[in-house]
């Protein structure tokens, strides 16, 4: 090992240390920004080191330099533009696109390596990791693009199945894995192309049947896939920085996938093979048995304005209606009257893990007001009004009983509050497809409206009470 190799390897270790420290600083909102800066510094170091490595190799043609720099510039420009202009509600799509390009780049690294070495003999171990890299990267690429399309509404958000879709999915998996095993014995570029196509098809048929409400799990899972693909790319080119960074992301995606699946009380397998769960459409089906009390803006405003403690429970409906600014305004008007306001955030509120927190942060809601489920649940009994906005299954008391689709799902104890106001467009079901017993609770009043206009009306009504 030459002195140059030593130095570059140590610099890569320093970069990896920055990544770990950066993630560690994400443990608190107060230090998270510094964490991102530390992580950025690590990345700049890693890229600079690689640049030195590339220059040191001395084999790069002029065209090679131009191609590399042009690609980097084009990509950076696109990334910068997307990051600067994206709406916070569209964050899940953007993360999905970044997953796609990250996975795609990892696959390309593997493909290049294989094609280059295919003529000569390849060490068996390299082939295994190359194939894993290419397969996982390709699945992530196509799967993430489909997920982003669904989130953006370009592709129908509801589960899409066609006759034989399951068979196509299984066949694609068998061809990809079978071809991969064949390639270990007999190097073949033709087979490589076949397994890439099969993996791309698998990614598409894996995500298409998954419904909008399950997107938090899918994005987390694809994030874990990307990380793993990058780590595999690290094995292929023998670069520790890639292995470490990829493993970190794989771990992160894995944890989030597990958290999201637990919060929905569904196994990951069930979500991937299940293919139910709409969420985007809330069809007005027959109402539950029992009386539903409906309420108008004025009465709801009086209840809220004369309460001491109000807990707001925002859900998917709030994110879909993009009403985060309206809810923040209502909260600030109530606070001016001396009402204590906090937010109860269920882990799967929004369209990706923690999405609701970002939306509310954007609307200038201080983060100490955003309470996690375990933290806020004991507070409901001493809450005067729980205001549920576009959240359904996560508030259904039926989850505490066995024998129904939401049984065992962790819920917010909204029914323990002294009174409950639910803002909802209709009596439609959540994605679990069952009646919400909360709505027929005698303490509950239903405010049938779109989240945005309901909150605007409520805020106006509370303001007239003030003056």
């Amino acid at each position: 090992m030459s002195a140059f190799d030593w130095i570059t390897q140590l610099l890569y270790v320093a970069a990896a240390t920055c990544f770990v420290l950066g993630l560690h600083l994400m443990n608190s909102p107060a230090t998270a920004r510094r964490g991102n800066q530390v992580s950025t510094a690590g990345m700049i170091l890693a890229v600079a080191t690689t640049l030195a490595l590339v220059a040191h190799a001395g084999t790069v043609t002029t065209t090679g330099w131009i191609v590399m720099l042009a690609g980097t510039l084009v990509g950076s420009g696109a990334g910068l533009y997307a990051a600067r202009t994206v709406e916070m509600t569209a964050m899940p799509q953007l993360v999905s696109i970044f997953n796609a390009v990250g996975g795609g780049a990892a696959a390309l690294v593997g493909i290049d390596d294989y094609v280059r070495l295919a003529s000569g003999g390849i060490a068996e171990s390299t082939t295994v990791f190359t194939i894993l890299d290419v397969l996982i990267g390709a699945v992530t690429f196509s799967g993430s693009i489909i997920a982003a399309g669904k989130l953006q509404g370009l592709i129908d958000g509801s589960p899409i199945t066609f006759p034989g879709s399951r068979a196509v999915n299984v066949a694609a998996a068998v061809i990809a894995v079978g071809g991969g095993i064949y390639m270990i014995a007999t190097p073949s570029v033709v087979v490589l192309v076949i397994i890439i196509l099969a993996a791309l098809l698998f990614g598409v048929t894996m995500v298409l049947p998954i419904g909008g409400a399950d997107m938090p799990v899918v994005i987390s899972l694809l994030n874990a896939f990307t990380g793993t693909a990058v780590a595999m790319a690290g094995f292929v080119i023998g670069n520790w920085a890639l292995i470490i960074a990829g493993a970190l992301v794989g771990a992160s995606g894995g944890i989030l996938t597990k958290l999201m699946a637990d919060a929905m009380n569904r196994s990951i397998r069930n979500i991937i093979v299940g293919g139910f769960g709409t969420g985007d459409s809330a069809p007005a089906v027959e109402g539950p048995g029992g009386d539903v009390r409906s309420i108008q803006a004025d009465d709801a405003a009086i209840q809220l304005a004369y309460a001491q403690k109000v807990i707001i429970v925002p859900g998917y409906g709030l994110a879909a209606a993009q009403a985060q600014h309206q809810v923040a305004e209502l909260a600030s008007v109530l606070e001016e009257r001396g009402v204590e306001v906090s937010y109860a955030i269920h882990p799967v509120a929004g369209r990706m893990p923690g999405h609701m927190n970002v939306l509310l942060a954007e609307a200038n809601v201080p983060y100490p007001q955003l309470k996690e489920m375990d933290e806020i649940n004991p507070e409901f009994p001493r809450t005067d009004v729980a205001l549920v906005i576009g959240a359904n299954d996560v508030t259904n008391p039926a989850a505490r009983r066995p024998g129904n689709p939401v049984s065992g799902m962790p819920i917010l104890d909204v029914d323990h509050a002294k009174s409950i106001i639910v803002i909802k467009r209709s009596m439609g079901h959540g994605y679990a497809g069952i009646d919400n017993e909360l709505y027929v609770n005698p303490k509950t009043s239903m405010f049938f409206s779109d989240a945005k206009s309901a909150l605007t009306e409520l805020t106006a009504a509370v303001k007239t009470l003030v003056s």
Partner: protein, 122 residues
């Protein structure tokens, strides 16, 4: 199995464990920025994409190098910028003094994000 490969696998497993340890402590509030930050970190594949250029000598090599570099650069630049943008929005308080337990009877004009409060978290 070579020693190099064994070292690589060891590093991979240990990094995975470090990842689990560090990330399981991240609060739910920060899960979206966390995922976005993790996203930027896997942009390290840019290093791999750049190394393709070392051996690229034909059209296929150049195309692969270009596309891989563009993908990875988009990932890494976009990821860090958007994570920073998100984290900038997380504020401890709307007004300078805020006690989560006491009713905030003071004025809480939260609509316009005042420039003075913006720097609070940096």
């Amino acid at each position: 199995m070579t020693t190099v490969l064994l070292t690589d696998i060891t590093i991979f497993v240990l990094a995975l464990l470090v990842g689990f340890e560090v990330i399981s402590k991240v609060p739910a509030t920060l899960h979206t920025p966390l995922m976005s930050a993790a996203n930027s970190i896997h942009g390290i594949v840019l290093a791999g994409a750049m190394l393709i250029a070392v051996t690229a000598h034909d059209a296929l090599g150049y195309i692969l190098a270009f596309v891989a570099a563009a993908f990875a650069a988009m990932n890494v630049v976009g990821g860090y910028v958007v994570t920073g943008r998100m984290l900038k929005m997380f504020r401890r308080s709307r007004t300078p003094v805020a006690d989560a337990t006491a009713p905030a009877a003071v004025s809480g004009n939260g609509q316009a994000p005042a420039a003075g409060q913006r720097g609070g978290q940096s």
